[in-house]
């Protein structure tokens, strides 16, 4: 379902791109003159589109706690919020762009900025007085780069979703291991030792679970750990089919088929509960918000989950996340920029992250009580220097939809890792040439 939806979304985006001229025409003519009043005060009626702050709890946080603080600072600004979910965000943005009714402030994911900035939908925040230099003390360079396109800042991160290795300390100890694996060789050795099958060969416990995580994101962790990258430094060529990328996929295929540390079908992204929580896996590539699930369902395991970086030629950690942007056609750009600064500020960002169990993008929040009480989030924040993101090219939303089927084809043995990644690179080149 996910890949179909994403293909559809990519097609929608392409359709929307062709409608940009229409949208841009409508926006330019409507520029209002009631923005800045010259003394630092701004005014206007803002619309916000957000895939976070969802549900009654999120809405209460945003509208009853955070926005009143914003209104104290900016009494002449009013904010109307449109809530959506990430699954429908692309469609919401696409139809908004196509119709010219683009919200003043939009929140979107890492890897999305390039496409929307390239098509002129996002405002250059530098022109509104917010620059990369201003923020460089508050964010690590790679995190901040998620909001940069062609050296200009278009988005500021609010929260991060990170993926890294997570192990069960008690199960490691049972197998005689004191610490999580520190290299790919150790990861393989530990995974083999921790895999349990019954007398009939039926898998009872995966030594290393790869299937509960989105396969694209799971692969990217290993790609980064092998020293590979998704695209060339100038973002003109896909490089995930480089020797490093192929080695990363070959490593995963070998874990699955030679070492048999997990079987196809043993787990999936739709599984009710993560296998680390019910002893069905000893190690896994996991998401930081596993801690929230643990607290609800298995608090007795709180001391047993231990995060680790998947380390090959370099440590690999993946991050996605949510960033706040301003529409290029906003009637109230100063007010919108003020809201973006507020929402990405320490207090608002901390509340938003706490609600979803995510990783604050601001480095200063490492010392917050929330982060200090959440070992997975704390680990992610302590390792943000090594975290790498996906995206980088405007066609990423289209390309990423083809990623999971390619990884699946290799894991299922339908294609060799080299074939799967070469075919995928071919599709990516076609998309980038369009």
């Amino acid at each position: 379902m996910t890949s179909w939806t994403r293909r559809g979304a990519a097609a929608l985006l392409a359709a929307a791109t062709t409608s940009l001229v229409l949208a841009a025409c409508g926006d330019d003519s409507e520029t209002s003159s009631e923005n800045g009043s010259g003394d630092g005060q701004v005014s206007g009626e803002l619309t916000v589109l957000t895939p976070i702050f969802e549900g009654a709890e999120g809405k209460a946080l945003l509208e009853e706690e955070l926005l009143p603080q914003f209104y104290e600072q900016y009494p002449d600004v009013t904010v109307t919020v449109d809530y959506t979910d990430y699954g429908s965000l692309n469609e919401k943005l696409t139809t908004a762009v196509a119709s010219g009714l683009v919200p003043d402030v939009m929140m979107m994911g890492v890897g999305w900025i390039e496409a929307f900035a390239e098509n002129g939908i996002l405002a250059d925040l530098g022109e509104l007085g917010i620059t990369v230099d201003d923020l460089s003390e508050d964010f690590t360079p790679e995190i901040l780069a998620g909001g940069v396109w062609q050296d200009d800042l278009y988005a500021i991160p609010i929260m991060l979703d990170t993926r890294f290795g997570i192990a069960r300390k008690d199960l490691l100890a049972e197998a005689g291991f004191d610490e999580p694996p520190s290299s790919l060789e150790e990861l393989r050795e530990y995974a083999i030792a921790l895999t349990e099958r019954d007398s009939g060969g039926q898998l009872q416990r995966a030594g290393f679970d790869m299937l509960s995580m989105d396969l694209r994101q799971m692969y990217e962790v290993f790609l980064f750990a092998h020293g590979g990258s998704l695209f060339s430094e100038d973002f003109t060529e896909p490089t995930f089919n480089s020797p490093e990328g192929v080695a990363a996929l070959q490593y995963l295929v070998d874990l699955m088929h030679e070492d048999r540390v997990e079987d196809i079908g043993f787990s999936s992204t739709d599984i009710d509960v993560h296998p680390l929580l019910n002893d069905r896996a000893a190690m896994a590539v996991g998401h930081n918000n596993l801690w929230i699930q643990l607290q609800e369902a298995a608090p007795e395991l709180a001391d047993q989950l231990v995060p680790f970086t998947i380390t090959g030629s370099e440590p690999g950690m993946f991050f996605g996340g949510t960033l706040a942007t301003v529409s290029a056609g906003s009637d109230h750009p100063e007010a919108a920029a003020a809201l973006v600064e507020f929402l990405t500020g320490p207090e608002a960002a901390l509340g938003a992250n706490e609600q979803r169990g995510n990783v604050p993008a601001r480095t200063e929040l490492l010392d917050s009580e929330y982060v200090q009480n959440n070992p997975l989030v704390q680990f992610a924040m302590e390792n943000l220097e090594i975290a790498q993101r996906e995206g980088g090219v405007p066609q990423w939303l289209e390309i990423r939809g083809d990623f999971t089927p390619a990884i699946e084809a290799a894991l299922l043995g339908e294609k060799t890792p080299q074939q799967a990644l070469d075919d995928l690179a071919g599709e990516a080149r076609e998309a980038m040439a369009r």
């Binding site: 990430y86 429908s88 469609e91 009714l101 009710d272 998401h287 918000n289 369902a297």
Partner: protein
Amino acid sequence: MSAAMTQTTAASPVKRRFDGKRIALTCVLAFGAFTMIVPFLWMILTSVKGPGELIEFPPTFWPKEWAWSNYAEALDAAPFATYFRNSFIIATGHTIITLIFGAMAGYALARIPFRGRELVFLGFIAMLMIPTYTKIVPQFLIVKFMPLFGGNDILGQGGSGWLNTWWALLIPGGLSPFAIFLFRQFYLSLPRELEEAARIDGLGEFRIWGQVYTPLIKPALATVALLTFQDSWNNFLWPLLVTTRDDLRVIQVGLAVFRQEETTQWAYLMAGSTLATIPMVLLFLVAQRYFIQGFTNAGIK
């Protein structure tokens, strides 16, 4: 008596064979019904399991402790009363529009000869093949640029059209080519003699449609009504796209709260889904009577 005995003797083996078939058929149907109902039962039972029980492997079928509080907590997660009301209004509106205008269109395509009728019908068939996703952007633009609504001028410029209004929720999905296709097929199956007799009696086209033919297609009415209501009730994306206000959102949007990118709150999602299916189950129980009545009528005819 002899004749009666012969009859009885002859009837018995037939009856035995019949009973055997019946038992086999019952077994097959029971198995089919069981496989259909298990997911539904699983949903209900999951909706009352606690978080600790949900992570157990192998999963329990029967809850160890019945966490009825899941329902209250799920209902607190979003304004479900408003969402229920909105879904009900939209689904009912779509069903009424479809039954009236879909039946009219189906009747016209089946029974009124006019130039280009086959071409129009082919157009409807072609529309069945168009994936929903490809229609979303053009449909959205039509709604946004609707003239003289939402501050738009006669050329559809300057305002928001039908966006954020009941019009956007009710009109674009109000009629489907599939419903028209179904109605046409049912109207085609009825005898021409009825129409000829009605015309001799002096009935106009509208009364022939409303008083002669349409009462004979109750199975079609019930089927189309159920499918339309269900489709509309389950609609998620369109209501989300054309509204920005919570007071216009629908039940499926509420359920999406429990399903985020990385996690799903299964107990709450199942509790919400259980509540969301109640109107559909009730509707089916009511419409089932008309199904049977309709099929009986068709048999007598």
